[in-house]
């Protein structure tokens, strides 16, 4: 009797479990490889400004000088640590989407002042 036939007859559950875990492992490996490939495409690397981000986080991620972030926040001083855009917008009573639009506009403006890449 072949090994597989023997296992199938005597250890069916363990054999099925083995097949399942092997398939899952392969799926995880393929997924991580695909995401890593996707990520290596520079055109897709920009993340979006989102409500959970803080001004400091945005400034760091988009490599903005403090003045640019300050311009986007308008009259309000750069807040102390740990205030998200959502917090700031609700303090001001404005929709967070407006605040994000203002920040994105400042980012675009700032980037347009940088020397164009060859």
């Amino acid at each position: 009797m072949g090994r597989l036939a023997h296992l199938w007859q005597h250890h069916r559950r363990a054999t099925l479990a083995f097949a399942l875990v092997a398939a899952l492992t392969l799926a995880f490996a393929i997924r991580s490889a695909m995401f890593a490939l996707h990520w290596s495409d520079p055109a897709r690397r920009d993340q979006l400004v989102e409500p959970w981000m803080t001004p400091r986080f945005v400034a760091h991620s988009w490599k903005l000088p403090p003045a640019t972030m300050q311009a986007a926040l308008g009259d309000f001083a750069m807040p102390d640590r740990r205030r998200t855009l959502n917090d700031i917008a609700s303090d001001r009573g404005v929709p967070v989407a407006d605040l994000i639009a203002a920040i994105e506009a400042e980012i675009a403006l700032y980037r347009s002042t940088l020397a164009p890449r060859p």
Partner: protein, 198 residues
Amino acid sequence: MTDALADLVVHYGLWLILAATFLSCLAVPVPTSLIMLSAGAFSAGDDLNLYACAAVALIGAVLGDQAGFGLGRRWANLLDRAHGKTAQTIARAREFTARHGGPGVFLSRWLFSPLGPYVNYIAGGTGMAWAQFSLFSLLGETVWVTLYVGAGFAFADQLETVATVLGNASGAAAGLVITVLLGRWLWRQSAAHRTPGA
């Protein structure tokens, strides 16, 4: 998912990290790797302090490991009541832990991290020496924390992508261990059954 979690990390900072690393060492399903990545990312923007995040994560993880080990040990006398084949298996598990336990504890902290909590219970239950367990737990958790908080810090502007890649990779690594162990067991079962000379 990331949004709500990142929001929590901003507002509850170190306490959330401490609770998350502690609980995940006890097999409570908390998205600790995402929390550590976010903590690293917010540290990069100076919203949190990198060293404080790493220290708190390490404390939570080591305490969690100790708690898991202690719970396993408390149940150890239940294991002693086993007899027959089960007792043999437990004896073999004890022997295995005594021989290979340390590196197993170390690797299951970070490389095969989904297996970590169970290794804690098993190490406690099979009577692994406390000093040995603690040493390898500390070393392994240091790697785990450095890896995730460090990746969050280094790739703050790519947070979601890094989270996805690391999440899938750690799933693949843990799956590989189980596949290999199960495969080896099945192979032995079928080999033992083969008639000599076949």
